[in-house]
C-alpha cells in the first residue's frame, strides 16, 4: 500500500441550528491502529464520523491529514483522499453482482467498453486479501450479511482507503460472522490502515481496539489505550454513573397460576410441537440461535402467522387468527424490528403511540386531547427524550424509539407481553432503564416473555429460560442452571449429543 495516513480532529465543534451536538472533540486515528468510538445513542458518534468522512462540515475546528489541514467538500472528496465511511445499513445495490458493486461509479473501462477482465482480476485480488471466498459474480442479495460487510470493505479498499470508518459493523452480524470480520480487521491493521469503529458491544471493543474514545453529550469524556479500560469502566464512562448492576434485583413474587399454556404449537416451516407454560407475574426468557424459529413461533401464537396447536389463556381455549384478537384477549407482541415493523418512522409520536389502541381513543371521532394526555404520560413514565413533541419518530434515537414502542404496547394494557429483542442496538444506559420497565411490569402481575439473542440479557432478566433449536424447544433452564454455557449447549444441540454417547 501507498503512504499511510493519520487523520486528526482538532477542537471540532458542530451545531445544528441552535443545538450544539459536538464540543471540542479531539481524536487522532493512526495507521495500523483500531480506534473505538463509544457512547450512548445521541452522544455524537454519528456526527463525528460524518465530519471525518466529509458528509458534514464542522462548525469550528479543523481536520488534518498527516498534519496538513484539510476540508472535505463532500464524501467523494474525502474518498478521493483516502477516507471512507462504511454505513451501518449496507450501501450496496442488491441486484448487482459483487464485482459490479465494488466498482460501482468507478468502473474500469477500455475505450467505450467496460474492462471486465481487469475488474474481475482486481475483485478476486481484493477478496483474497480479505480472505473472503464469495464469488465475484454472485448477486449481492444472495450472499450472507458477513460477506456483504466484506464487500463493503473491499469496495472501500478498491478506492484505496487508508482511513476506514465503520459504523457499528457487527450490529447485523452473528457472533461467528463478527469473528471473521475481526480477523480481516487485523489484516488491515497490519497493512497500515487506520480504522475507527463504533459498537454497543463492549466485549468486542475490548477485544479488537487499540485506542478508545468515549463520547457523552458531545464531549470527549475519556480517551486512552484500550488496555486501560475494562467493560465496566467503559460503561460507567458512557453513562456517567455506575452501571455494574445492569439488571435490577428481582422484587416481585412469581405467581403459580398459569397465564398462558401452549401445547403442540406448530408454525409450518418454522416451529414444531412447541409446548410451554407461562405463569402470572413471571418473566420467561426464550433463547436460541438466530433462525431457530423463536420469533416465528411467537408470531404464530399471536395470529401473525398461521399455526396449529392448543393455546389456553387464563384457563380458556383460544385461537387467534389476527393480532387484534390476541390483543383483545390481553396478549401483545412487541416486534424485534422497530424500524420496519414497530413504528411509522415518518409519523409523529402521538400517532404512533395510539395506533395499537386507537379504538380506546375513538368515539366516532378520535379524541386528540386524550391522545395528547396519553403522550404526556408516556413521555414521563418511559422517559422518552424527544427534541419536540411533534418530531417524526424516525428522527428519534434508537433507545427512545424502543421506549416509545414499549409505551405503545403498554397502552393496550395487555396482561401478557412478548418482547422480542428488547434492547437491540441500544446504549447501555437505556438498556438499564428498559430492564427496569420490564421488572416493573412483572411486579404489576403481568406475565412477560423476553426473546433475546443476548445470552446475558435472558439470564439477567428471566426467571426461567426456554432454549429453541431448529424450531423445537431444546430444553429449559432455571435457577442456578441459567448459565451461558448451558444455554449455548442446548442451542447448539450439544447436550443431546452428549446424552446419546452416554
Amino acid at each position: 500500500m501507498s503512504d499511510p495516513l493519520t487523520l486528526s480532529l482538532n477542537g471540532i465543534c458542530r451545531s445544528f441550528g441552535p443545538v450544539q451536538v459536538l464540543h471540542d472533540v479531539d481524536i487522532a486515528l493512526h495507521p495500523g491502529q483500531v480506534h473505538a468510538l463509544i457512547g450512548e445513542n445521541g452522544a455524537g458518534k454519528s456526527t463525528t464520523m460524518k465530519i471525518m468522512s466529509g458528509y458534514l462540515a464542522p462548525t469550528t475546528g479543523e481536520l488534518t491529514l498527516n498534519g496538513v489541514p484539510v476540508s472535505f467538500m463532500n464524501s467523494q472528496d474525502a474518498e478521493a483522499q483516502g477516507v471512507v465511511l462504511i454505513h451501518q445499513e449496507f450501501n450496496l445495490a442488491d441486484q448487482l453482482s459483487v464485482e459490479q458493486n465494488i466498482f460501482l461509479g468507478h468502473e474500469k473501462t477500455r475505450g467505450l467498453f467496460l474492462d471486465k477482465a481487469t475488474m474481475q482480476t482486481e475483485t478476486r485480488a481484493l477478496l483474497k486479501r480479505l480472505n473472503c471466498e464469495v464469488d465475484p459474480s454472485a448477486r449481492v442479495q444472495d450472499i450472507a450479511n458477513a460477506d456483504k460487510q466484506m464487500v463493503e470493505i473491499a469496495k472501500a479498499l478498491s478506492r484505496n482507503a487508508k482511513v476506514l470508518i465503520m459504523d457499528e459493523p457487527t450490529a447485523v452480524l452473528t457472533a461467528r460472522e463478527a469473528d471473521v470480520l475481526f480477523e480481516q480487521v487485523e489484516k488491515l491493521k497490519a497493512d497500515g490502515v487506520a480504522i475507527l469503529f463504533t459498537s454497543h458491544k463492549l466485549d468486542e471493543v475490548k477485544r479488537i481496539s487499540d485506542q478508545i474514545t468515549v463520547l457523552r453529550d458531545g464531549h470527549v469524556v475519556s480517551q486512552g489505550p484500550a488496555s486501560d479500560y475494562d467493560e465496566d469502566q467503559m460503561a460507567t464512562a458512557m453513562v456517567g454513573r455506575d452501571v455494574s448492576s445492569l439488571y435490577p434485583v428481582r422484587a416481585g413474587e412469581i405467581g403459580t397460576t398459569a397465564a398462558l399454556e401452549v401445547t403442540g404449537l406448530t408454525v409450518p416451516g418454522f416451529a414444531e410441537d412447541v409446548s410451554f407454560t407461562l405463569h402470572k407475574g413471571e418473566i420467561l426468557g426464550i433463547s436460541g440461535l438466530i433462525g431457530s424459529g423463536r420469533t416465528e413461533m411467537i408470531e404464530g401464537l399471536v395470529g401473525l402467522r398461521s399455526a396449529t396447536g392448543q393455546v389456553r389463556l387464563n384457563g380458556d381455549d383460544v385461537r387467534f387468527k389476527s393480532p387484534s384478537q390476541a390483543q383483545a384477549a390481553g396478549l401483545c407482541y412487541l416486534t424485534e424490528d422497530r424500524k420496519s415493523r414497530g413504528l411509522l418512522l415518518n409519523k409523529g409520536m402521538r400517532e404512533n403511540l395510539t395506533l395499537q389502541s386507537l379504538p380506546d381513543f375513538t368515539n366516532w371521532l378520535i379524541d386528540h386531547t386524550a391522545e395528547e394526555v396519553a403522550l404526556t404520560k408516556a413521555i414521563e413514565e418511559f422517559d422518552i427524550r424527544a427534541p419536540t413533541r411533534h418530531v417524526a419518530v424516525g428522527n428519534l434515537s434508537g433507545g427512545n424509539q424502543q421506549k416509545l414502542l414499549i409505551a405503545k404496547i403498554m397502552l393496550a394494557d395487555p396482561s401478557i407481553v412478548v418482547i422480542d429483542e428488547p434492547t437491540r442496538g441500544i446504549d447501555i444506559g437505556t438498556k438499564q432503564q428498559i430492564y427496569e420497565f420490564i421488572h416493573a411490569l412483572s411486579a404489576q402481575d403481568k406475565s412477560i416473555i423476553v426473546i433475546s439473542s443476548e445470552m446475558q440479557e435472558v439470564i439477567g432478566l428471566a426467571d426461567r429460560v426456554l432454549v429453541m433449536r431448529t424450531g423445537r424447544i431444546a430444553g429449559e433452564v432455571s435457577g442456578a442452571d441459567m448459565t451461558e454455557d448451558k444455554i449455548v449447549r442446548l442451542a447448539m444441540g450439544l447436550d443431546a449429543q452428549k446424552e446419546e454417547t452416554v
Binding site: S15, G17, P18, K50, Y55, L56, S75, L304, S322, P323, S324, A326, Q327, Y333, T335, S340, R341, G342, L343, L344, L345, N346, K347, E351, L355, Q356, L358, P359, F361, T362, W364, L365, I366, H368, K408, A412
Partner: protein
Amino acid sequence: MLTADKNKHTKNMLLDLKVMGPILALIVLVLVGAALNGNFLSAGNVSNVLSRSAFIGIIAVGMTFVITAGGLDLSVGSMAAFIAGLMILVMNGLLPSMGAGWPLVMVGLLTAIVAGTAAGFINGFLITTMRIDAFIVTLGTMGIYRSLVTWLADGGTLSLDFGMRAIIRPIYFDGILGISWPIIVFALVAVIGELVMRRAAFGRHVAAVGSNDQVARYSSVNVNKVRMMTYIFLGVLVGIATIMYVPRLGSASSSTGVLWELEAIAAVIIGGTMLKGGFGRVWGTIIGVLILSLIGNILNLTDGVSPYLNGAVQGVIIILAVILQRDKKAEG
C-alpha cells in the same frame, strides 16, 4: 446566530408553502380569471364550475383514501361509464312495469350505489385477497368496464327514456337556495371525507397502512380490511358521482368518463397527498379538483391561448403544484 435565524425563517416559509401551495395556486387562478373576463365571478359561472367539478371531485375524495393507503385505482372512469350505462338500462327496463316516477328514480339510484359497491369490492378483493398489484388489477378492470359499456350500448349511446329524463333532470340542475344538488353533494362528501381522514380511526389506519403496512399489521390493524374498505368507499363514491352525472344528459356511451381516473389522481396529488401513500389530505384534493376545472373554464372564457394547449397548461400547473410541495432534500 444571524444565519441560524435566517435558516429558520426560510424553513418556515417552505413549510407554509407546502400547506399553502395549492391554496395560493387557486387564488392566483381566480384572480387571473376575474381579470380576464367580467363574467368569471358571476353566480352562473361559479355554479357551472362547481357543478361540473362535482363528478371528479366526489371520485377524487375516494381516490385520496385509496392513494393514502398506498393503492391506486385506474378503473374509476370506466366504472362510472359502466354504472351509468347499467343505471339507464335498469330504469329503461323497469319503465313498462313501474311507470315513470320517483320510485323508478330511486331504483336507479340504488342500482348505482349497489353497482359501485360491488365494483369497489371486486377491485379490493383482487388486490387484497388475491394479492395482485393494484396497478394491474385496476388496469384490467378499467378495460373490462369500458368494453362492457360499449357492448351494452352496442357501440353507440345508451339513452334514458325521454319521459324519465324530465323526472330525473332536477338531480343535476335543481337544488336548494340556488345551490345545485351536485354542489351540495360534493360539499357533503368533501366535509365527511375530511372528517374521516383527519379525525376518525379509519383515516388514521389508512395513513398507517400506506405509511408502512407491516407496522400497521403488527399494531393489530387489519390491513386487508382497511385496504378493502378504501376501494369499496371509492366504488360507492363513483356510484354517487354517476347519480349526479346521468341526469345531466340522460345518456351514457363508451366516451363517458374517459380519463376521469387521471384527473382524479392529478387532483389528489396537486392537493398534497403523497402518491406513494402514508399521508393524505382531503381538503387539498378539493382544491386540486377546483384548480383543474378552473384551468379549462378560464381557457374557454378567454381568447388568446390555443385550445390545443389546454393539456399543456394543466400539465404545467400539476408539476408546479408538486414542486412547491416537495420535501426539502434530506441532508446526509
